[in-house]
Subunit: 353 residues, 2 copies
Amino acid sequence: MAATYSTKQWFVKERSGDNVDVEKAFELVAKDLSVDDLKEGQVLAKAILFSNDPTQRTWINKDAVEGRHYRVPLKDGDPMEAYAIVEIIESRNGEYQKGDLVFASAFWAEYFILAPESLIFKIEGDPADTLTLGLTGLTAYFGLLTVGAATSKDSTIVVSVAGGATGSVVCQIAKNVLGVKNVVGITGSDSKCEVLKKTCGCDYALNYRSPSFKQDFEDSTKGGIDLYFDNVGGWISDMVIVKIKEFGRVIVCGAISIYDDMKGGAVSAGISRDTWMQVIFHKIRIEGFIVLQFTDQYAKGLTDLWTWLAEGKIQLIKQVWEAGIEDVPKGMSKLLNGENTGKLITKVIHSQR
Amino acid sequence: MAATYSTKQWFVKERSGDNVDVEKAFELVAKDLSVDDLKEGQVLAKAILFSNDPTQRTWINKDAVEGRHYRVPLKDGDPMEAYAIVEIIESRNGEYQKGDLVFASAFWAEYFILAPESLIFKIEGDPADTLTLGLTGLTAYFGLLTVGAATSKDSTIVVSVAGGATGSVVCQIAKNVLGVKNVVGITGSDSKCEVLKKTCGCDYALNYRSPSFKQDFEDSTKGGIDLYFDNVGGWISDMVIVKIKEFGRVIVCGAISIYDDMKGGAVSAGISRDTWMQVIFHKIRIEGFIVLQFTDQYAKGLTDLWTWLAEGKIQLIKQVWEAGIEDVPKGMSKLLNGENTGKLITKVIHSQR
Ligand SMILES: NC(=O)c1ccc[n+]([C@@H]2O[C@H](COP(=O)([O-])OP(=O)(O)OC[C@H]3O[C@@H](n4cnc5c(N)ncnc54)[C@H](OP(=O)(O)O)[C@@H]3O)[C@@H](O)[C@H]2O)c1
Ligand SMILES: NC(=O)c1ccc[n+]([C@@H]2O[C@H](COP(=O)([O-])OP(=O)(O)OC[C@H]3O[C@@H](n4cnc5c(N)ncnc54)[C@H](OP(=O)(O)O)[C@@H]3O)[C@@H](O)[C@H]2O)c1
């Protein structure tokens, strides 16, 4: 008799609009998985850690349109996806054995069947560190070093959402690997500012909720800005871009401030006329990227990142919270509410079987 | 007794705000120039042709700030400047003789004294053609070929303000030099659309004032857009950028739709949230430039442009209007009102002395 796994899995019930309780977009469904269902190449796996990524919010956006996204957005009724560290329970794939821990593109469920293309790599180091380096560390790495190449030590770099997963790595690569003189991190709380100054090498850490933010920003960027690593979009980005120097660059990594506030998309992304004029007058280059475009260079990126970690050039700031499958969608709210410092990781607590 | 030249010269009386009669910003002052005033290296010159450039509007913008512009903006009381073809009347500069026609950075006046650094080059070809090629043709050339390099023949290129001075050259280089498959020009009248189709090699010429514009735009860019040469800013640009394909590029040459409508600068430049998300999702590169950054390559650019002109690959669309010195500021209104097709050139009619 083949083994059966009772699992609970989150599906997209109704894609989310702006500024509503995003957790309401999902519904939890109980189902049974049988090992008999495994096809050649597939594995049956168990969720160990979930990566919480702001981009997941964009996958379930009510107005997301295929061809206007970097991936096929999810539809109502689709199973919710997530990057995860999974443990192989049963395998019909020669590359993966029972017990292996694998970085995978998986689902919000306790157990799931994964196709071979969803299995990204077998992990060797610490699972939470692995989840923090890939794809988050890789995003910082490729964004800063490839798209933002040619950054001189004498630069002023501004990083938004600096206290988050990607931002905290960007600041450290900028300071400790590139040796950039003036690294300015912007984030949403004083406690995150502390981490930025003490651990992430920021010369200035600015709390955008502080009444003195505008003045603090002026003080920290007196000579102008060479490079802006943008995770936030909106008014913060407008304020930064308008101060960029001649031939300065903007790396558009994300725009979390608008993911849950698209207002039909027609509303300004926060680029004012003054700022747009600076793009011309100061010959500014603005460039978007998606880490997935560098898939063929992940191995090199990960080698560098693990080396810097071993050398103490970067430290991984991470926040692991434990959740039963029922609570998993709360991770998305936590990101949108700014509750995390560094990488937010969900450790899945499995109910006794 | 030294010769004296009675001249009239336009000064900036009060820099201009948004959407007011821009001609009111200037005042005409009569003065006498004496050849005795000429210092070593200087020339006394006579205005022959004035270049009408939208950027002149930005030099006299009420809120223009030094360090936030590509040049030092003009102040109240400054003489108004203009690129011009001038005739040397008296010279204390060994490189220029009486009678030479020179492309210069000059003033809105009948006669003026020019410093050696204002004399850009001696002209040989037709004066109006020379004014059209430099700096306008050079702007099209460097914008399209340097900043927008790597454009494949299989591309769709969209050009805004295509019926204007720069745009009309961009379209022709794209079609007749680069051999781009689909060149889409956007402009403000049906008559300009005719010129774009008949003379400038546009596969589609769209009138943004037509009720069918949005549909026409969809029809002409079915496969998405590879490159956008942006002269306009605002809602037209937003509409174009949101349709740019993966790894597509935007060359930000100008934003004439906002020069006279800055509303304090805080208003959106027209980049909506939908569009900004495309910058990330589709990894779009947006880059501003100022033709002056290529000064050291003008000679090569002009050689290519004159060659293409001789080969019939480009034709210069120009509109010459005659004006006494009293009427010169009308040229700025003409540009802002869209009255010109191609390069707007003022031929200065001198009063009898
Ligand atoms: N291009 C790519 O390939 C790629 C890959 C990964 C991530 N990203 C992007 O990078 C950004 C950061 O993602 P991450 O994975 O590193 O997660 P993260 O930084 O940990 O994101 C969560 C943080 O975002 C901030 N935030 C949330 N809502 C905000 C708002 N309305 N205004 C300002 N800040 C807000 C909060 O920090 P504060 O307390 O500082 O506000 C929160 O803690 C996101 O925009 C994401 O989409 C892009
Ligand atoms: N970056 C550089 O180095 C550089 C150098 C030269 C020029 N430029 C820029 O290139 C653009 C074109 O300049 P140009 O010298 O070639 O002159 P131009 O195209 O002849 O400019 C005048 C034309 O602009 C259009 N226009 C005016 N107001 C408008 C509005 N509110 N909305 C839409 N279109 C409007 C009109 O054409 P329609 O009938 O089509 O509306 C008008 O005929 C300008 O933005 C200019 O600043 C940049």
